[in-house]
């Protein structure tokens, strides 16, 4: 165990990265992009700078043996358990996307001498638990997911922590959705009482005729940020979205870039944001349609409800388009519960508090109900309600 300070990166000794891009290339990338500050566009609305300035404990790369279990468990960055039928192992990785916009994506790779490789054979539904047990520690790990052509797989990920205060967790996926396959990821993450700090930075390539679904559900009173970079090959589809239910002074949300590269690509992105107390919701989403991506269809939408006096929504739905053969639209609304609806319910004898609850739950459900798997849907519903009823709405 030793100490690490990310602002003095070049001065610290790191394990040599054993991938195609040697350590210095990644360091260079981090340096040219610069560690995120308040002025970095992607990190403008979260306070990441103080987190990066901290000095953390940092352990040498030391994986433990993996035992069989029902689900994949990653504890403090190391796999402890994995189910049969799925190959989970540590590997070198030579496919870092050198065009990613996020410096912490490169930093994550720089700090991960090996990646956790998850190879999904056939049609599978996988549960993935991230567990954090160390405080004041920098926990950094990268996960690579590969699936098989013509197969359908889904991953349900969730998070647990115990005594992980003041730790900074940098993790993220590099996903290649193989040609003609489908992959779904559902994230369920409630963070309360500043249990840990997290920045998740993902890189997704969706292959020809492949389809990806990525829905994230973020609840609680603490901050975190996820960043997505998604590229679509010919006839690829992506359906992404987030639901935020935030309390206290949580600052959470999604920064994303979806790039349409191939013809006939489709993307939809939908954000629902429920913000109470002094919480801040972030939807900073760019859709880029390159000249090669004829016949693209893309739709982007963010809806926010501000409930608390200090709550704050930042919506930046962005379209960057270099072709005329396409259909593109986006929209964003920020407002309150609909007074007419509230009144209607009250006129039927429902109390104002109850009516508010009903409408908030209904708003959240529109996204929760897009989860096809019934069990997963139930779990998300439960997490939402736990977060929701924790708050006294009167």
């Amino acid at each position: 165990m030793r100490l690490i300070n990310l602002t003095q990166l070049s001065a610290i000794e790191l394990d040599e990265c054993r991938n195609k891009h040697p350590k210095h290339a990644l360091i260079e990338k981090v340096q040219t992009l610069g560690l995120p500050t308040r002025k970095s566009e992607a990190y403008r609305y979260v306070e990441v700078e103080p987190l990066l300035r901290e000095t953390y404990e940092y352990a040498e790369f030391a994986p433990k043996p993996i035992v069989y279990g029902e689900k994949i468990i990653i504890e403090d960055g190391y796999v402890t358990t994995a189910p049969k039928g799925i190959r989970v192992y540590y590997s070198d990785f030579d496919d870092v996307n050198m065009n990613h916009y996020d410096p912490l994506y490169f930093l994550g790779h720089l700090l991960s001498p090996k990646v956790i490789m998850i190879e999904i054979d056939g049609d599978s539904d996988i549960e993935l638990l991230h567990r954090f047990t160390k405080s004041n520690t920098l926990i950094s790990y990268r996960i690579v997911i590969k699936n098989q052509t013509n197969r359908h797989a889904s991953i349900y990920e969730y998070f647990e922590s115990k005594n992980a205060q003041n730790s900074l967790i940098l993790y993220g996926y590099d996903i290649m959705v193989t040609q003609d396959s489908t992959l779904g990821i559902i994230k369920n993450q409630t963070i309360n009482d500043n249990a840990y700090n997290m920045v998740a930075s993902h890189n997704v390539k969706v292959g020809k005729q492949a389809s990806m679904m990525l829905k994230t559900f973020d609840f609680g009173d603490s901050s975190a940020l996820q960043l997505l970079n998604i590229e679509l090959d010919t006839h690829a589809m992506v359906d992404t979205g987030h639901l935020l239910y935030l309390l206290g002074h949580a600052k959470r949300g999604t920064v994303s870039k979806i790039v349409h590269k191939g013809e006939h690509t489709h993307s939809t992105q939908e954000a629902k944001n429920i913000l109470d107390d002094g919480a801040r919701g972030i939807f900073d989403a760019l859709i880029k349609v390159e000249q090669s991506a004829k016949y693209t269809k893309t739709r982007q939408n963010s809806k926010a409800i501000l409930l608390g006096e200090g709550s704050f929504m930042v919506a930046k739905p962005q379209l960057e388009i270099y072709i005329d053969e396409l259909e593109a639209s986006h929209g964003s609304t920020t407002g309150q519960l609909n007074n007419n609806q509230l009144f209607y319910l009250q006129s039927r004898g429902i109390s104002k508090i109850e009516a508010r609850k009903m409408l908030i739950i209904a708003f959240a459900n529109t996204l929760i109900e897009t989860i096809r798997d019934g069990r997963q849907q139930e779990k998300i519903q439960k997490s939402f309600e736990e977060a929701f009823y924790k708050k006294d709405l009167s």
Binding site: M313, A315, K316, I321, T333, T334
Partner: protein, 477 residues
């Protein structure tokens, strides 16, 4: 439709690209304290103004050129620009204005004589660095309205200038505003006294004529309590191979119950299809709704310039104040535009409307960038934005970057945007009725822009339509 055909339809020749051959007094290229002192002296400015200019210059030197916009251009050499050019003979009445200048304005369709006065429009014409003629001043004087060049205002109305200049756009607000604050050469000042409804449209026409000059005009409009004014500006420049810089600043202030309607028809030379030549149009425009129930409305039709970087903004400070932004931006050839607005809601029940229509053709790149910010003090604030893009051809680009920030639990922000091309179906329908392809395209484009054109005063709506046709129709047949 074949792309080639569309290109001929959309690449209208620049019709205002003539150069006027008149004797000018142009200062050597370059920028330092001496240049600024020279400008100030030429303008017969009081000392305090020179001091302010030099202060702005000091700040500018410490700043760097911003590059966050979605624009791509060669670096500007600020030492290669001449910061002052004036017709040699300074006119004191219409009769004394160089006939060639009058003729130039006639060509532009801006007669500075009786004709315009009959239309009930007061005109201030800025030719390169100086205001050549302000019409109708006497009639306006009767109402206590001040409508004069900014240089004259600095000399004649120092108390108003000291109070309001830099109050909305501080001198170090941004790189180009700082540069303007140091070297602004002319522009227009308008003051509408309490309770006065300005009886006519006010108008300024800007023209860059001399070679290698920049134009740095500064406009300041103050509408006192309960007053109203509709102000229009138009711009053009000769066809040149070099890029020319236009860095203007416009400040608007409305007091309680006052309203300013500000319309722009911008037709600077756009450069050619390869991106050679054309005006760099880097402009800071901002309005402050200081008083309750006040209103500022920006309407712009942007067809010219090689590069446009401007965001006419409203700071809605007074309770119930209203901000509006209506924009048509056309980019064809190799033009790039990064334009939009900022609506900053501070007062209670403030409301804003944004309607932006972007048209991109050929290699044009059109970016809408808008910020809507509702502060927690702005209880009950409302915004509605609509940003639509029309794409013509497969090499152009349309980009929409709205920033929507709300801290108000009673407020409402709505943003909608769509991007589409001219639909084959619409085009076919019109053609089936016997309307030729070119007219059909123009008809659809006009329809697309209608909501914005309807905001312009009648005479300018006609001008804007004609201009759009010039830009879009061009040289078929």
């Amino acid at each position: 439709m074949e792309n080639k055909q569309i290109d001929t339809v959309v690449a209208g020749d620049y019709k205002l690209g003539f150069e006027v051959d008149i004797e000018t007094d142009t200062v050597e290229a370059g920028l330092d304290e001496n240049t600024i002192a020279f400008i100030s002296q030429k303008k017969e400015e009081p000392k305090w103004m020179l001091k302010l200019r030099l202060k702005a210059f000091e700040r500018w030197k410490k700043m760097s050129e911003p590059h966050w916009a979605h624009l791509d251009y060669e670096p500007i050499d600020y030492q290669a620009i001449s910061y002052f050019s004036a017709p040699k003979t300074a006119p004191s009445s219409l009769d004394e204005v160089d006939p060639k200048i009058l003729e130039a304005y006639k060509k532009l369709g801006i007669p500075l004589d009786e004709q315009k006065q009959l239309q009930g429009i007061a005109v201030d014409a800025v030719f390169d660095s100086v205001s050549v003629k302000t019409t109708y001043s006497e009639e306006l004087n009767k109402h206590g309205i001040i409508f004069c060049s900014i240089s004259e205002a600095i000399r004649e109305h120092p108390e108003l200038i000291k109070k309001y200049m830099f109050s909305v756009v501080p001198m170090s607000d941004n790189y180009f505003a700082a540069l303007n604050s140091a070297v602004f050469t002319d522009g227009t000042f308008v003051y509408i006294p309490k309770g006065v409804r300005c009886p006519m449209e006010l108008s300024t026409y800007f023209r860059i004529n001399a070679l290698n000059t920049g134009q740095f005009e500064r406009t300041l409009i103050v509408a006192d309590e309960g007053s109203y004014v509709s102000y229009n500006e138009g711009c053009s420049a000769p066809t040149r191979d070099e890029h020319q810089l236009h860095a203007a600043v416009v400040e608007l202030i409305t007091m309680k119950d006052a309203e300013i309607k500000y319309s722009t028809i911008q037709n600077w030379y756009p450069g050619d299809a390869t991106g050679k030549g054309g005006i760099y149009n880097f402009v800071t425009k901002r309005g402050l709704c200081q008083g309750e129930n006040s209103k500022i409305s920006w309407t712009q039709v942007e067809t010219g310039s090689a590069i446009t970087w401007k965001y006419p903004s409203c700071i809605l400070k007074g309770d119930n104040s209203v901000g509006e932004f209506y924009s048509v931006a056309v980019t064809t050839l190799a033009q790039q535009a990064d334009t939009g607005t900022k609506m900053i809601h501070l007062g209670k029940n403030t409301s804003s409307t944004i309607v932006s229509k972007g048209i991109s053709a050929m290699k044009g790149q059109n970016t809408y960038r808008g910020l809507v910010k509702i502060a927690s003090s702005a209880k009950g604030a409302r915004n509605h934005s609509e940003c639509d893009s029309l794409l013509i051809g497969s090499e152009c680009g349309a980009h929409t970057f709205p920033y929507l920030e709300s801290k108000d639990t009673q407020g409402q922000i709505e943003h909608e945007a769509s991007t589409s091309k001219i639909s084959d179906e619409q085009l076919f329908y019109l053609r089936q009725r016997g309307i030729n392809e070119e007219d059909a395209v123009s008809m659809i484009v006009h329809g697309f822009c209608k909501e914005v054109f309807s905001q312009l005063p009648m005479e300018y709506a006609v001008e804007a339509k004609a201009l759009l046709n010039l830009t879009l129709e061009g040289s078929v047949g």
